[in-house]
């Protein structure tokens, strides 16, 4: 059975283009042009009860004619973990961070290419239902192997020694491999709520991790920076 997508986008041209491109990729695509339409399609009961989700993934525009797409995300996140990818022309990093912290799986700024969208969708779909299933515990990319269960990291077959903080930080990124993790999420999960303002800790430890895991830290291939927002560990499939 093909995956069901809900595309919420008010611009007719963009909606049609994206729909065609996604159909070609074999997805089943339903579209909504407004917040009200999206809610109607989703079904009120579905929004309120945690039954089987009607969709496998939602592509959500923010500036809709009858409200902000962010409201739908908040409503949805109260009960369900259906992956949501925000597609918006708004570039302010404050908004990006806010929506990612609210539970959006990813944030794509318009304009974007279809290949970019498909890559992000694959990551989001893979992480779908992480709360129910066992979280990712193993990450392999090139000659790097990270085994969270056994606290082991090796590169080119040699064990890499990491301090406990470095390991915790890396583990947090591995669990969301391919997805952006905001500064806030990292600081809270690795150091604790009271370290929210200490972004310089992240700079320091990410630098150390890059020095140990990257071939050329000046041009990282694994531990990627999303300026102003957070970090992303390269997706294993890309």
């Amino acid at each position: 059975m093909s995956l069901r997508l809900l595309l919420v986008e008010d611009d007719r041209e963009l909606r049609a283009t994206l729909r065609e491109a996604l159909l070609v990729e074999g997805y089943q695509v339903l579209t909504a042009a407004s917040l009200a339409e999206a809610i109607a399609m989703y079904g009120q009961t579905q929004l309120e009860e945690a039954s089987t989700p009607a969709f496998d993934l939602i592509l959500l525009d923010l500036g809709l004619p009858d409200g902000d797409g962010g409201d739908l995300l908040v409503k949805l996140r109260r009960k369900q973990s259906t992956p949501v990818i925000i597609i918006s022309a708004r570039e302010a990093e404050g908004q990006k961070i806010h929506l990612l912290d609210e539970g959006a799986d990813d944030y794509l700024v318009k304009p974007f290419s279809i290949s970019e969208l498909l890559a992000r969708m694959r990551v989001a779909l893979r992480h779908r239902g992480n709360q129910v299933r066992a979280a990712v515990t193993r990450y392999e990319q090139g000659d790097l192997v990270i085994d969270l269960a056994n606290h082991r990291v090796s590169r080119k077959g040699d064990a890499v020694h990491l301090t406990p903080t470095e390991f915790n930080l890396l583990a947090r990124l591995v669990r969301s491999a391919g997805q952006v993790v905001t500064h806030r999420q990292l600081l809270v999960d690795v150091w604790g709520q009271e370290y929210l303002e200490h972004t310089h800790y992240l700079r320091l430890y990410m630098g150390q991790l890059r020095a140990k895991l990257e071939d050329n830290p000046a041009e990282p291939q694994l531990l990627l920076t999303e300026p102003g927002v957070g970090y992303r560990l390269l997706d294993t499939e890309s």
Binding site: T199, M206, P217, P220, T225, P227, G228
Partner: protein
């Protein structure tokens, strides 16, 4: 000024009395040698000299007493007030008149010179005050001095009168808002209201001013030509006599008012000028932006319309090439848009960036990753000094700066020549640099591009094409970070360097974490 202190008065009386004493000593000494008529001249001289120091009443009293004593001691028959000869009567009466006239003249003269001195003093005070106001870049800072000067003027014989000053911070508000005023000295609510009235009408109020004479305090406006910028309060004054220096005080206040008004007008002028310049720069930018958009749009339009209308006559390869160029040019438009957005963002925050601790390594790393897709020949390479300190800044803006510089280098240096991106420390700066092997734009042209957007003269930007906005933004970003964007011609090519100030580093986490 006019009020003498008691010690000064005592000195004057002593001198006057000493003169009388000396006069009498001379009279007694010359008594044996001269007749009374000659002696009387000494008495007249003494009286005239003493009048220089003694007040009118004492001069007259001393004259009368002196005359009677003279009559008693020197006019025959001696030892009595009786007068033998008629001529002596005439002498005494004449002496009496002369003494009175001299005393009167002396006192009048003294008063004249005292007044002249007071006027000169007041004029000098006004002149010095005027000089001070003229030299002050911010007349508001001299309010304290005006306060002191008014306090000096209000030192009374009996008691001192407290002085308070208020001055408008900005425009006169439609309603009385205490926060709109800068103040010196304390003011009670009743005084406050009167001060506002004085400020709004620009009229002095209180005893001796002709307005609200029954008030128990003086209110003097700080008047300019067309606006009143503040008001002074001299409290505890119930009649005009208590404050004779009213004119002088008002003159000091008015000078301050004129200076404040001048300053206000200058500020308005500067604002208007800045606004006009900002508008010109904005227009220039708009013109440059729409110019820069046309080229990629033209390519997209050409390729897309060809696909739309000639599709069946095109080969698969041709179609693919057209589609590819649409993607490429759309990406160029995306980068242009992003530049414009960041410029607008910088403009909106007025250069006050929202900074955080950022790592040069991460900024360069993320930019390198993004620019690789425009670098199929692998011309880019990055080199970082180890243990670089953290930067304080906005990572999005700094990324944009590097991206623009790299984009320019890719576009304007010879194909396949290497481009090096680096970060190093140079004394008190962290330097982010992009070096290429020879661009075809001369250093002078770059300087011109930088300046074009500052002066708002877009006609000169034609030669450099699309680099204008990008470079102008780069310099704006560097400056917003307290740094500078520099262009250096090297032996082999060109180097753009962004110098960012080094800051005291944040505390590192404890090692056990």
């Amino acid at each position: 000024m006019n009020a003498l202190t008691s010690s000064q008065q005592l000195l004057r009386y002593s001198i006057g009395l000493a003169i009388w004493l000396l006069g009498w000593c001379l009279l007694l000494f010359f008594d044996a040698h001269f007749d009374p008529v000659n002696l009387s001249l000494i008495l007249v001289l003494t009286s005239a000299l003493a009048a220089l120091w003694l007040p009118l009443s004492m001069t007259l009293l001393a004259s009368v007493v002196g005359l009677m004593a003279f009559n008693w001691s020197f006019v025959p028959p001696r030892g009595t007030f009786a007068i033998d000869l008629h001529q002596h009567t005439v002498l005494l009466i004449a002496m009496m008149l002369v003494n009175i006239i001299i005393a009167g003249l002396m006192v009048f003269l003294r008063e004249q010179s005292r007044r002249a001195q007071a006027y000169a003093h007041a004029a000098e005070e006004l002149r010095i005050w005027g000089d001070k106001l003229r030299d002050a870049s911010e007349p508001g800072s001299l309010l304290d001095e005006l306060h002191l000067a008014l306090e000096r003027l209000s030192v009374g014989k009996a008691n001192n009168h407290p002085v308070a000053l208020v001055a408008l911070n900005n425009q006169l508000p439609p309603t009385n808002q205490p926060s709109a005023l800068q103040r010196i000295g304390s003011v009670n609510p009743e005084h406050e209201e009167a001060l506002w009235h004085c400020l709004r009408t620009g009229q002095p109020l209180g005893p001796g001013t002709g307005h609200y004479q029954e008030l128990d305090a003086l209110y003097l406006p700080l008047r300019g030509r067309s606006m009143t910028s503040g008001a002074a309060l001299i409290s505890g004054i119930t009649s005009a006599d208590e404050f004779p220096a009213l004119t002088q005080a008002q003159a000091l206040c008015d000078q301050m008012g004129a200076a404040l008004e001048r300053h206000h007008i200058q500020q308005q002028e500067r604002q208007a000028r800045d606004q006009a310049q900002a508008q010109t720069v904005r227009n220039t930018l708009l013109a440059a932006i729409s110019h820069d958009y046309r080229t990629p749009l033209a390519t997209i339009m050409g390729a897309a319309s060809s696909l739309d209308q000639q599709s069946e006559r095109l080969s698969d390869t041709q179609r693919q090439q057209l589609a590819h160029s649409i993607v490429e040019e759309a990406d160029r438009l995306r980068r242009l848009t992003s530049n414009v957005l960041q410029l607008a963002r910088l403009d909106a925050i007025g250069g006050n960036i929202q900074g955080d601790w950022e790592s040069a390594e991460e900024i360069i790393g993320s930019v390198m990753r993004r620019m690789r897709s425009h670098d199929p020949q692998q011309r880019l390479s990055a080199k970082l000094e180890s243990h670089l300190p953290l930067l304080w800044g906005d990572s999005l803006l700094l990324s944009q700066l590097l991206e623009n510089l790299i984009d320019n280098a890719l576009k304007y240096s010879p194909p396949e020549s290497p481009i090096n991106v680096s970060a190093h420390i140079d004394k008190h700066h962290v330097v982010l640099a992009v070096r290429d092997q020879g661009t075809d734009i001369a250093a002078a042209d770059y300087e011109q591009i930088f300046e074009v957007f500052q002066r708002g003269d877009h006609r000169k930007s034609g030669g450099a094409g699309g680099t204008g906005i990008g470079l102008a933004l780069c310099r704006a970003i560097a400056r917003a970070h307290g740094g500078e964007l520099e262009f250096h011609a090297t032996a082999t090519g060109a180097s753009f360097e962004c110098h960012l100030p080094l800051r005291a580093q944040p505390a590192n986490p404890e090692s056990h974490l």
